[in-house]
Symmetry: C2
Subunit: 210 residues, 2 copies
């Protein structure tokens, strides 16, 4: 049924997958094309045959990842068919789950955008999408709820920054936070599960929503 692929993965795909792992873990500067080729199980020359340069290969990966990250923010908070409290709870949880499932993604994007701010142009479209579509709609829902006395007034942008801040840090800084919590939790995953609920509560308490 697929366009191709009776055989497992073709060389190009194997290189892409290995490159994704290497770049996300070590960043552009720390990644080695020879390491990528080896992990993909192909000779080093193949990497250059398919992608010409390290830069072009990197460009492929970071474009894909930035688009993904933009989409997930929009996707998590975009469902406006729910009552505000539910929309926020689900948004925080979905966002948290995505970050937990892609733990090196935020560090990767933050680092590479810092190193080359012009890379933001790749995200600009999704970022503009967030700013206008999501924030506009969310803000009017918050305002309406506050006007009815169902919750505290709040700035939708600030709320979004709150949520992203709270969700990213325990995943990005896992080794450090892990060493702080020590043996308080059974595992770091148990801590993360508790943290997800804690973040939902923090936001709902801020809105004082009923």
């Amino acid at each position: 049924m697929d366009k191709e692929a009776p055989h497992a993965e073709d060389t190009e795909t194997k290189i892409l997958h290995a490159a994704e792992k290497e770049f996300l873990e070590k960043g552009y500067a720390g990644a080695r094309t020879a390491t990528i080729a080896e992990a993909a199980g192909v000779t080093h020359a193949m990497l250059h045959y398919y992608f010409r340069t390290k830069d072009k290969l990197f460009e492929r990966i970071i474009t894909e990842k930035m688009t993904l990250l933009g989409d997930i923010v929009l996707g998590a908070f975009g469902d406006s068919s729910l009552p505000l409290a539910e929309r926020i709870r689900q948004g925080v949880e979905q966002h948290f789950d995505f970050i937990a499932a892609n733990p090196s993604l935020p560090r990767f994007i933050i680092n590479e955008v810092y190193a080359h701010p012009e890379r933001l142009r790749i995200m600009e479209t999704s970022v503009q999408g967030i700013a206008s579509r999501l924030l506009g709609g969310l803000q009017s829902e918050i305002d309406e709820s506050a006007a009815r006395g169902l919750s505290r007034p709040a700035d939708a942008l600030m709320l979004l920054v709150d949520i992203i801040s709270l969700n990213l840090f325990p995943v990005m800084a896992a080794p450090i936070v892990g060493s702080i919590i020590g043996g308080t939790y059974e595992s770091y995953d148990a801590f993360l599960a508790a943290r997800k609920q804690e973040n939902v509560e923090t936001i709902l308490k801020k809105l004082n929503i009923h």
Copy 2:
């Protein structure tokens, strides 16, 4: 009065300062010893004469920075002579100000600990200090306040993670957040000032403190 220093900065100090900047901005893998030497205004050979290897120079910088970061957390929240609400407000603000004044520090530490988790041992002493001294004291204050009906009960560890999360993200991800906020604020510094107060409020509302 000083031990030395009639002349501006000696070579060793110039190299250290240049190295700090280069490593914090580009990380270990992205930093170049030749770039450091050039920025310090000395020949490349001098760097190796004083510090032998890139690794040893890096070790000097990261040890200093990890200790600093540990100390600041302890320092910001350690003043237990204040009423709880004031202690938290001042702690959040002091911590925020320190991060804003050292914007590449969190990214640097998070990246280098991720790349080499064994580096956590450098921080272990300060980290243990935080876990026991700070959290223990803070927790009993929170408990006492809650018992008197002055605030909601809360877990001191979770509260600390909340604060650090909220304070770090807008500084670490400044280019990205800046592009999301667009022209809403006069400058990114204006946004950060607003953000500091917002973070204080978020925490106080979570505690529902009066």
